[in-house]
Structure formats: C-alpha cells, structure tokens
C-alpha cells in the first residue's frame, strides 16, 4: 500500500516537473511576439563539382631545331626548322615539320669549272612533312648515379613535299629521334631523318636519300 502511494506521489511529482519544465517553452513557441528570429542566412552549397576538361592539358609540343642536312650530290649544309607535335596517346604522336637548307655544288659543277646547274633561288631548299611517331623506349636515362632524365627513343615516318632545285617533290621521311624531357614542359630532341624523293635533275630519274641530323628544343603546352 505504501509502495502504491509512493508510486502515485512520485508520478505526480514527475508530471509536475515535466509540465513546469516544458510549458514555458511551448507557450513561447506558440506566442509569435516572444519569438526571437535568428537572422536567416541562405548558404549556397559551394560548387565543387570537378570539371576535368578545365584542367591544363599539355598535349602539344612546339619547337625549333637546327642541324646538318646532307643532300645527295649537293653536299652538306646547315639546316634550321620548326616543328609542332600533338600527342594523341602516350605512345603515338603526330608531327608537322618545316625545314630549310641550302644546296651546295655538285661534283659535276666543281669539276667542270664554272658550269652552274642551278640558280641561287633554286639552291634554297625547303621541306615540310606530316608524320606519325611512336615512342618505342620511354623511360629514364641515367647520367652518373644521381641524375635521371625522363625521355625516350621514338621512331617516326611520314609524307611531305620538298622544294628541291625549284620543283616540289613528293617526299617520304623515316627517322629515329630521342626526346630528353628536361622539365615537365621543356624537351630536347636529337634526330636522324632520311628524306627520300625522286629526281631527274642529273639526267635520269633516281631516288635520292637525304640525311638530316638535328637537335632542337620544344615546349609542351
């Protein structure tokens, strides 16, 4: 019986505590004048969606080169040029190249003493070509034990045109190059290239092989 009375008493106490504890807040909530409004700040969710297309892509490579070009029958002279390449994958790239050199004298001209086969204008030789390159041995090259350079060998082949002795000749080119990547955006190139075209300049139609040795630098952008 005592227990029962205690139970009722405690329940009433609890009810009172609960009512006292909660009533003021419920009253305040129902009374608009007592409402203290917090200043409403609408926060736009920060746009953090990542757009990979906006990332800086460095698939283009543009640069200059200089070297020597041997033109069959005409000797060797300096060569200068420009090149631009686009890296389609890590293995393949396409390249456009333009080069200029001068033609020397043929042995016939030197031996005949004064007979000139070509005018000065015709001695200016230039070529352009469009080629596909394949990186065969990409990797690091070590100079001493602490210096490692990124780079790699590539093979390249393509078609183009050579302005030779005043005429345009369809030209095939094949070659081998080494690309030494000095920094992420600067590379040095060393190239050996054979430019092959037909000519009948010296009497009969023959296939001329013209070897180019060149070095240059390119910038990735």
């Amino acid at each position: 019986m005592e227990n029962r009375l205690q139970h009722i008493f405690l329940s009433i106490c609890l009810l009172v505590v609960v009512l006292v504890g909660f009533t003021p807040t419920t009253q305040a909530a129902t009374d608009p004048s007592a409402l203290e409004l917090e200043p409403l700040v609408v926060r736009e969710p920060e746009r953090r969606k990542i757009d990979i297309d906006r990332l800086d892509t460095e698939d283009w490579e543009v640069g200059v080169f200089a070297g020597l070009m041997n033109v069959e029958d005409f000797g060797t002279d300096t060569l200068t040029g420009v090149r631009i390449a686009y890296h389609v994958t890590e293995d393949f790239f396409v390249e456009a190249q333009y080069g200029m050199t001068d033609l020397g004298q043929t042995s016939f001209e030197r031996l005949s003493g004064g007979a000139q086969l070509l005018t000065d204008d015709q001695r200016e030789m230039s070529y352009y070509n469009l080629s596909v390159g394949y990186n065969v041995f990409p990797g690091e090259s070590f100079i001493a034990s602490r210096w490692a350079f990124k780079g790699g060998l590539y093979v390249i082949a393509g078609i183009g045109s050579t302005d030779f002795a005043g005429d345009e000749r369809f030209t095939l080119n094949v070659g081998l190059g080494y690309r030494l990547i000095a920094t992420d955006w600067l590379a040095f190139h060393f190239n050996v290239r054979d430019h092959i075209f037909d000519s009948d300049l010296l009497g009969r139609e023959e296939t001329l092989h013209n070897i180019e040795f060149s070095g240059g630098l390119t910038i990735f952008f």
Partner: protein, 260 residues
C-alpha cells in the same frame, strides 16, 4: 656556317643550364590555374616519375589522401600530394587509377573514355591522307566538324606533286554517314573547290592553270582505337575548264584522322 653552328650550340647549352630555374615557370601556362582537389578512394594510386608506363613508380597515395590535380598529358595526370605541413610529392597517375577518385563531397568524377561511342559521337576531326591523283602524288590535310552523327562539314587542302606539273587544291565538302555507329563507317561525299596546276620548271614552259572543280566520292572510316580513325576514299573530280570539254580526274587516297 661554323659560326652559326657554334652560336647554336652555345644557346642550346645555356638553355640546358638554365632549365632548373625554368622548371617552375612555363611562360605558356600563365593563364591556366584550375587545380582541383580530389580524394583517393582506391586502396592506393601509383605515382610515376613521368607521364608514361615506362617511368618508374616512386610513391603511392593512399586511400583517403587528398591530391591536387595539376595538369594532364594524354592519359596521365600530374598530381601533388601533401606530406606533412611543408612537404609535397608530385608525380604522374594514369587515368585508369584516377577513375576511382572522388571529389571533396564524395561524388565520383567524370573522366573521358575514348571508345567506339566517342567515335560515333565525335565533333571535330583532323587528318592527313596521301594518294594518287591521276598519276601524281597528292597530300591532303582536312578538318571536319560533325553537325550531327550523319553529316560532317569538311574543308581540305591538297598539294599535288606530279612528274610534269605541281599544283594545289582547296575544297569544301559534305560527308554523309548512313551508319555512323558502325566501326567501319562508309560515307558519301560531294563538294567543290579550286585547283591550280603549274608545270615543272624542267619541262617546257606552259601556262599556269586555275580552274573550279566539283567532286563526288565514296569512302570509309575505320575506327582503330583511342582517337585514331583510318580512312579510305575514292573521289571523281570534274575540272570545269575554260575549254569546251571538262576534264575528269580520279583520286584514290588513304590516311588517318584523330578526333576531339
């Protein structure tokens, strides 16, 4: 000639010595500074010293690491990983490992994946072809824009290199692809342009000629992989000469294009 070579060598050597100073400063990239941060969700991603599988792995970024994307070259991303308060590691990660990274809100990131679908839905393409132009060699470069998967507008420039005459040709064409979703996708083309022919200097002098041409042809694009397309084409040109007869010229060519 020797002086030119020497000065060239000196300039090259100077640049080689200056490279460490230039390493942080690429003049062509001043305007590019979008460098988003992503979170690694795979157990780890491998960082290579260069953008290629031939370059060794020198570090790994672990699951939950935040990495900053710096730039992209082909399928490789240059990333920066913070190690401690002041130290960072920079390396190159392949796109296949990047696919499982998340943005800072935990959402997956979209990386492009070139495949047969992107071939059918390509917008821009450029390429080169070589071939036979009525006995002469012809080199052609072209740029195409796909209005929709069935129609592509294309401009092209050709150099014609013959035994007796050289020339150039410029044209604008429409290409129609009846089956753009096929891996070997045939097309029809019609177009117009101008052709200029000049005789070679070793042959007797003749007049330079400049004529309008119209052409029609058939061809096929074959999707190779990545962004490479192989192309074969046959075209019949009608040269609208000032003489009584029009001249017909057959052209066969093959080449490749890359698309964007």
């Amino acid at each position: 000639m020797t002086r030119r070579l020497t000065s060239g060598c000196i300039a090259l050597l100077g640049l080689l010595l200056a490279t460490p100073a230039l390493a942080v400063y690429n003049p062509l990239n001043l305007l590019q500074n979008y460098q988003p941060e992503v979170v690694v969700s795979d157990p780890y991603v491998e960082m290579h010293t260069g953008p290629g599988r031939g370059y060794p792995i020198f570090y790994v970024a672990g699951q939950g690491d935040a990495i900053t994307l710096l730039k992209q070259r082909t399928d490789w991303f240059k990333i920066r990983l913070a190690r401690g308060a002041h130290r960072t590691k920079e390396g190159w990660v392949h796109i296949d490992q990047m696919r499982h990274t998340l943005d800072l809100d935990g959402n997956p990131i979209e990386f492009v994946d070139y495949g047969i679908d992107s071939f059918s839905g390509r917008r821009w393409e450029m390429g080169i072809t070589g071939g036979d132009f009525e006995g002469a060699a012809a080199i052609t470069t072209y740029v195409g824009y796909a209005v929709n998967p069935y129609i592509t507008l294309q401009i092209e420039a050709s150099q014609i290199l013959g035994d007796f005459s050289d020339g150039s040709m410029f044209g604008a064409n429409i290409l129609m692809y009846p089956f753009p979703n096929w891996r070997v996708s045939p097309y029809f083309t019609i177009g117009t342009g101008i052709v200029e022919i000049e005789p070679q200097t070793t042959i007797v002098q003749a007049e330079d000629r400049r004529d309008e041409i119209a052409h029609a042809g058939v061809g096929a694009n074959i999707y190779l992989s990545d962004r490479f397309i192989l192309r074969f084409e046959y075209k019949r040109h009608t040269v609208l000469t000032s003489r009584d007869d029009n001249e017909e010229i057959d052209q066969w060519k093959t080449g490749f294009s890359i698309f964007f």
